[in-house]
Subunit: 298 residues, 2 copies
């Protein structure tokens, strides 16, 4: 009997799920603002059941979850798989959720070491493998922008290494909590492409964000940047700095997985650096979980 | 008759003054938490009089002020002098405070352009010229660390260019407002030199602060950095990043003007990069104001 998969991405701030057919096609999707930060201790089974219990009770449905739900603060801890990590490693290290919750397993996150310092991801690894499946690739440079951007370098079907950039969070702190907030408008207004590009070019110049950030204030002080363009300019500074610091020398194409408007800004920035960009949305997560399930069944 | 100088540094957060003899020696000092941010519109004369009126009423006393008191939000605006700017330029562009306040003038701040983007300082320029006088130098690379660090490159007695790094502010935001705060202790505890050096070396590696910052979290997660060492490590990351981004290639010696403990940390970081360091305290401000007054009298 062909079996369906309940694919779930349960992160810090959101709970999202999709019911997939045997080929990985999406039959139905649901989401709720019930990220880990909202779950009381011991509260996972009830929240899961409230949002997905009806789907899981069907006899041909199994469930795979990815994301912070597998962290130490999650439902069941799924210890990190060390890089290089591929679908085989993930499928071999699933953490089973104890009965009677149903047929549920959690995909581990991935860890790596760069110069003796660890880095971790949970949930993004699933999108990486989904992207490889969707694009028919074995090697890729993959960017998942966000509060904490993740950059994964994939070769021979395995994540070889990756890095985390706190760009989204730093942008928000500079935008709202720093001295720069005094010269920026309260509302973001529209995206100003020219100001964004100006920020990018300033960042590509290499002074580093600690120095370039102050220009948001001085350009406003000298009336060389309209206040309404400030947020776009700062966004260019931060995204430009993220790209400047990446080892992209041998990289011709970057796969960007994420939603508007952030993914579009990163695409614009990467193209300005002469890189080709392939864009994917959050469907990569469903495809990735389907791929893990296939390995499990193989 | 030899004349005395009332030298005042009136910044955003503090009001400090010193009575100097004709040779620039400090006779007496006073300070108050009456920075610009605490002054109501029109409130400058009264606050000045409350703290320094008795000194200024002596017949042989004149007053020079530096700092944000000369900004658009200050007592009287003293428009910026453009680089290259030396003592002659400052002395030629003093802004007189109108009578009947007394014989008071405000030293202008300094502006420069780097790649078409302006930068500004107010108050630090006085310390730069004070340092030159105290050290008998015509050329120097001068660092004034703080919430917003200022780096001034001096040649032939004039500030040729300078830059602002928002390092102190970024450190505070990361330390208290970001996700890193969750793995850092509430109290700073003691300075951990090993952890600080580890942060420096990580920053010198060149990944950029957006990437290296996340290691505060992952090192704690993997129990490779005790929580108590976290703030020192983060401090090393931020100060190291500030130095990494500076064009220090031809610089053998850096004059660091500032108070403990920040100035000491920068000294340690600069020595780790093989630079000689000369340290000066806030007395540089008094010497700088005295030097401006001498040019004015010449």
């Amino acid at each position: 009997m062909p079996r369906r998969l309940l694919a779930i991405d349960w992160g810090s701030s959101a709970l999202r799920g999709a019911l997939l057919d045997a080929e990985g096609g999406v039959l139905e999707e649901r989401s709720a603002a019930r990220g880990l930060l909202t779950i009381e201790p011991g509260g996972f089974p009830a929240v899961f059941d409230a949002h997905f219990g009806d789907w899981l009770r069907a006899p041909d449905v199994r469930c795979l979850m990815a994301g912070m739900v597998g962290s130490r603060q999650g439902w069941v801890e799924a210890p990190y798989c060390a890089c290089p990590a591929g679908l085989d490693e993930l499928a071999a290290h699933l953490a089973r959720v104890p009965a009677p919750a149903g047929d549920i397993a959690i995909v581990p996150g991935v860890s790596c070491e760069r110069d003796g310092v660890p880095d971790v991801m949970r949930g993004e690894e699933i999108k990486v493998f989904g992207a490889l499946e969707l694009l028919g690739l074995e090697s890729a440079e993959i960017l998942m922008p966000g509060t904490h951007s993740k950059w994964a370098s994939v070769a021979r079907g395995r994540i070889q290494r990756f890095a985390t950039a706190m760009s989204g969070e730093l942008y928000a702190l500079l935008r709202r909590q720093s001295i720069l907030a005094r010269t920026l408008p309260d509302a973001d207004g529209g995206f100003d492409a020219d100001a964004f590009d100006r920020g990018l070019d300033r960042a590509f110049g290499g002074e580093g964000l600690l120095q370039t950030a102050f220009s948001v204030r001085t350009l406003a002080l000298f009336e060389r940047l309209p206040p309404s363009a400030g947020p776009s300019y700062l966004s260019g500074l931060v995204i430009g700095e993220e790209l400047r610091a990446r080892p992209l020398a041998g990289v011709e194409e970057v796969v960007v997985i994420g939603a508007e408007p952030l993914a579009e800004r990163f695409e614009r920035a990467l193209r300005r650096l002469g890189r080709r960009v392939v864009r994917l949305g959050e469907e990569a997560a469903w495809r990735g979980l389907h791929a893990v399930q296939q390995r499990r069944d193989a």
